[in-house]
């Protein structure tokens, strides 16, 4: 192991041993929005007031996952996260500090022996909530940067790529394209200069995995990018991050500065000839910039409009050079894979979807927050066991995955294993990992209209089907949600869905009809119920379009068994 890392690790361990207690306060955006900053200050003051500074340290850490119960504070007296407190307020500081040597404060206690904590399998989130994201020393003490050192000192670039191929890792941004294959293509492409881009333009409404990883463990991304750079022969990387995530940006900046200081970024990394630099580029509020070619246009300072592929960025990307674009979660999985071997990673998950996946649980669910589970875990387990079931005692009606590009999976399919293939067989997609639970009160037509409005306003305006088609689909859905639709509207809506899906230029347009098509597939009766009586009666007279209102209401959704 590289000496410098060893020194830092030892120093960190020494520091840790000096303290009897460690109080970790969640400082990710969720808890910070409910005053966790003030809580940390209050605990700090309390520790000082009691003269405990030499025995107890107070740290700000990343996301602990259970955002719904925030602000969260964890206390360890030897073991990490032994006691967890929920709904903490600054006024609770004396009680927490006062109980350090005695029994925990029961009224604040958040049970940790529940499925939410027990059933998860953390790889991407292994450090989240356990280390201070603003100190590189803690990342290093948690085996950080050892994968990078291993890659550049013991492995050839081809061996690194092989390890990624063996792991079976697939793109976590939603597409599910095999990561190893992507790396191979870029490595083989001719080009004087190559680039690595981390796509942190998490735009799906309802998804916050990337934000959490960036805020809780930024060095993991830097390490993953540097390894990728070594594997494909790039020495410059960019992180394209949403302008809406100021905390993530600040932490990334700090992390880059620190990594440069200990020579894990920059020239001659760890005494080898390998050089890698990372710069941050800020998005400015455009969902379409999550699309590879639009993202590149945006980094180049232009309007974020996609262009047709091929050529793919792997051959012709940033400034015309071969470019590797990977999502945050994909890059976050790289270091553990190199550290533990591709076979270890491939040992988790299903036949075609390996490893683990982070999901953001939101909507009508008790344990809203962030979880990481092995691929193939069933929706039921995620919603009812880990997620603690539907909130307010309601019944689950559908689960929305994949955001505006995904679909609504009805509760009938709760036993579906969550992997790329099973979800797309159900007419949805894995997407980046947003999972919104909807109870019986949710109107599926409204949900479809909501997503179509999203796509309409986020359409870049370049290609005709997406620019104009989404407007028409939105207007039609609006009629349905006002219950003023005609059977003709339904026919037109389905036609437009087909056309926009097949003729749009980029992924945004091609997937924009997905929420409509999946709700039409499983909840067609809700659309039929929005057709006015008069319109329906008139329509029956037209034999060419013989879908009578009643006939269609009775048509049950086709059930397809997904194995």
């Amino acid at each position: 192991m590289y000496e410098r890392l060893e020194e830092i690790t030892l120093a960190e361990q020494e520091v840790a041993e000096r303290y009897d207690h460690t109080v970790n306060v969640c400082m990710a955006a969720g808890c910070m929005s409910s005053q966790s900053g003030a809580i940390k200050e209050a605990i700090d003051k309390e520790v000082e007031a009691n003269g405990l500074e030499r025995w107890c340290r107070v740290r700000g850490v990343g996301c602990m996952g259970l955002c719904a119960h925030g602000p969260l504070v964890a206390v360890d007296n030897g073991k990490p996260a032994e006691t967890m407190y929920q709904y903490v307020t600054p006024e609770d500081a004396p009680a927490i500090v006062g109980s350090l040597d005695t029994a925990p404060v029961e009224r604040l206690r958040c049970p940790t022996d529940v499925p939410f904590f027990q059933r998860q399998h953390k790889i991407v989130l292994e450090n989240s909530g356990l280390i201070d994201p603003e100190r590189i020393e803690e990342y290093i003490a948690a085996d950080g940067y050892t994968a990078l050192i291993k890659a550049i000192t013991e492995m050839s670039p081809a061996e690194v790529i092989d390890e990624i191929i063996t792991s079976g890792l697939r793109g976590r941004g939603g597409g599910g394209y095999p990561t190893g294959l992507k790396w191979t293509t870029v490595a083989k492409s001719d080009g004087e200069t190559k680039y690595v881009i981390c796509n942190a333009d998490e735009g799906d409404p309802g998804a916050f995995m990337d934000r959490s990883v960036l805020e809780s463990d930024p060095h993991r991304i830097l390490e993953g990018m540097a390894i990728a750079g070594y594997a494909i022969g790039a020495s410059q990387g960019y992180i394209y991050v949403r302008g809406e995530y100021p905390l993530a940006v600040a932490r990334l900046k700090t992390a880059i500065r620190q990594a440069r200081r200990v020579n894990m970024l920059g020239s001659g990394i760890a005494g080898t000839p390998f050089a890698f630099h990372i710069d941050i580029r800020l998005g400015a509020g455009a969902f379409v910039c999550g699309e590879e070619t639009a993202l590149i246009a945006s980094i180049e300072g232009r309007r974020g409009q996609p262009r047709p592929r091929p050529p793919y960025p792997a051959e012709y990307g940033l400034w015309g050079q071969p470019t590797l674009i990977n999502n945050v979660e994909t890059l976050a999985s790289v270091a553990p894979i190199i550290r533990n071997g591709g076979a270890w990673y491939a040992g988790m998950g299903t036949a075609k979807s390996k490893g683990t996946k982070v999901f953001a649980l939101a909507g009508s669910i008790n344990n809203t927050g962030l979880i990481e589970v092995p691929m193939g875990t069933s929706l039921r387990e995620i919603i009812y066991e880990i997620g603690g079931g539907v909130s307010g005692g309601g019944k689950c009606k559908a689960i929305q995955t994949g955001g505006p590009s995904g679909g609504c999976i009805p509760a009938d399919f709760l036993d579906t294993p969550v992997d790329y293939e099973s979800l797309s067989a159900l007419g949805s997609i894995m997407g980046s990992g947003g999972m919104i639970v909807m109870d019986e009160t949710a109107s599926m037509v409204d949900v479809a209209r909501f997503f179509m409005e999203f796509c309409m306003t986020e359409s870049c305006g370049r290609c005709v089907p997406c620019r104009v088609g989404t407007v028409h689909m939105h207007n039609l859905l609006d009629k349905f949600s006002r219950k003023e639709a005609t059977p003709h509207d339904l026919v037109l809506l389905e036609k437009l869905c087909d056309m926009v899906r097949n003729t749009s230029l980029c992924g945004l347009g091609q997937t924009a009809p997905n929420p409509v098509m999946s709700t039409l597939r499983y909840f067609r009766h809700e659309y039929m119920a929005a057709i006015t009586e008069e319109a329906a009666d008139l329509f029956v007279l037209d034999p060419a379009l013989s879908v009578s209102r009643n006939g269609a209401t009775q048509r049950a959704p086709k059930l397809e068994v997904a194995s």
């Binding site: 929005s33 955002c67 409404p205 309802g206 934000r211 809406e244 800020l282 400015a284 309007r303």
Partner: protein, 176 residues
């Protein structure tokens, strides 16, 4: 029409232009740095006016229409000055499901503005965000930079009331 040169004079001797210049310098006065530069202008001045767009275009040797095209493509850039106070309402899926549309409608009604607008007295800008990524706390809104989660109607209106009253007080002090 200004001609090629990096030494284009800023529109005024406001010191904030130095920060903008520094950003452009960091990017070698290349057009690639346009979005970064616009971010800096917006951070420094609150919005992008015609003078600043002309200055940036001239400094980066970028066509005016391109600069305008980029400024209006991205939602975070604003060409109009913002109100003294801002309320950003999250319209992400989780917030949507947890009742944000009704809340937004009520705020719009109460203050007589639509989302994206500023009240006539310049006190309040009502903005929307695609998703603030705090879905665990839905519905979420940001009041002058402070995120508030699990909002209900009373709480939201209360916060707005507080914000705008403080504004009026400050105003009257200034006038007095």
């Amino acid at each position: 029409m200004p001609l090629r040169n990096e030494k284009v004079e800023p529109p005024s001797d406001d010191k904030r232009w130095r920060i903008v210049q520094a950003t452009m310098q960091r990017n070698g006065f290349e057009r690639d740095g346009l979005i970064e530069t616009l971010h800096t202008v917006q951070e420094s001045f609150g919005y992008l006016d015609d003078d600043s767009l002309r200055y940036v275009a001239a400094s980066l040797n970028a066509p005016l229409s391109q600069v305008y095209g980029v400024s209006t493509f991205y939602h975070l850039f604003s060409l109009k000055p913002a109100g003294r106070h801002a309320c950003v309402v999250c319209l992400g899926t989780a917030c949507y499901i947890k009742g944000m549309p009704a809340l937004l409608k009520e705020i719009e009604k109460r203050y007589g503005i639509k989302a994206g607008e500023t009240t006539a007295d310049g006190h309040l800008s009502l903005l929307t965000a695609r998703c603030l990524g705090a879905c665990g706390l839905a519905p979420v809104a940001v009041f002058d930079g402070n995120i508030a989660g699990k909002l209900d109607m009373a709480e939201a209106l209360n916060r707005l009331q507080e914000m705008t009253t403080v504004a009026t007080e400050v105003e009257s002090v200034r006038e007095a």
